[in-house]
Assembly symmetry: C2
Homo-oligomer: 213 residues x 2
């Protein structure tokens, strides 16, 4: 993960924590609290905030409401973020209907699949043929795609997406896709995450000692 990506990830995490604090009725927050919540140093929080001109007073802390507004502006999440879902299998279909997106102002514009039986242009979220990707990406100015196709075709479909103008891919196919040339890829391999959990538990059982520091 490069520096920009790390900073962006932290900014969105700050925002998430702040929104929870706001819902709890908090008015002010200190860099120490945010540092604790994210597991980073207070100095890093202050550095991030100062870099982006987020203002607060050392002794009085930051105003939660102000920080959220400023973060939303920096992160550009005031507006609706539109995505497509490519591959309408179990995970893809679940994501097309995922309620958690609405609150974050994420809207799935269309699904795409190769299976003619799944095509339904009149569904609340239409499902179209893969061939229509270039047209929809262009006409709807889509920049981000969720990729939930089988592993065997993931690389090829990713190339189609990039050729159509997609700049960001959230990849659920169990294959490590790489970004570059202005394209950002975020890989989520659910089976791998589970394997990691099992391995960590197995290592914990063995008491790895010094290695776990």
């Amino acid at each position: 993960m490069n520096a920009t990506k790390e900073v962006v990830v932290r900014l969105t995490k700050y925002k998430n924590v702040l929104e929870k604090l706001r819902s709890l009725g908090f008015v002010k927050v200190f860099s120490d609290n945010l540092a604790d919540a994210l597991g980073v140093s207070p100095a890093l929080v202050r550095k991030d905030f100062s870099f982006f001109g987020l203002s607060g007073k050392k002794r009085a802390g930051y105003r939660v409401e102000d920080l959220i507004a400023q973060l939303n502006h920096i992160l550009g999440v005031d507006e609706i973020q539109r995505v497509i879902v490519v591959g309408c299998g179990k995970i893809g279909t679940a994501l097309m209907r995922y309620r958690g997106f609405a609150r974050e102002k994420i809207r799935v514009v269309s699904g795409f699949d190769v299976d003619p039986a799944k095509i339904d242009a009149n569904a609340p979220v239409p499902i179209r043929d893969l061939n229509e990707i270039p047209y929809i990406v262009k006409s709807e100015s889509i920049r981000v795609a969720i990729l939930t196709v089988p592993e065997t075709v993931a690389t090829q479909v990713a190339e189609t997406l990039i050729a159509a103008g997609i700049k960001g891919i959230l990849n659920f196919a169990p294959i490590l896709l790489k970004g570059g040339n202005g394209v950002v890829v975020q890989n989520i391999n659910i089976a791998l995450e589970l394997e990691n959990l099992f391995c960590l538990l197995r290592f914990a059982d063995k008491d790895m000692g010094g290695e776990s520091a």
Copy 2:
């Protein structure tokens, strides 16, 4: 992420790359190739392998088949890994039926939900009431749970799971759960990942310059 976690994550990534190489007919591989595939230094690959006693020859490389067998042994993935899915909404249901798990020898033993309409003890993967979690976790010796409940109850359900003996949680609820006391939590926040992608693209548009190094 602590050192152990980082190492385990790398070992599972090596294994995934190696399995792909095997399916392509590769017999040997060099640390440089694995380093490229993971985006780490060849020295780190050799350090990892030497720490775990994975053997190869500098000029001749490593045998793919041997490495996979040794990694499977170290990572303990020779055996079936059993999990439960807690929260049978859209994402939870998709994961209960996810075909990608079978290949990784991950088996969903049971789903759990509060909604009586969803309870079905006779389904291929049974769905049971949340109250039955302690009994099933104990009788089936389950150690890992996938948490796909709404955010509002995620913390409370996680506490129930931990009290029942769960040691690893893969959390899809959009709230940052923390591990500790022998419990490992891996958080996957899909909406947040998408937000990060949008932000990265926005930052790329602005050309962050030095900060993107």
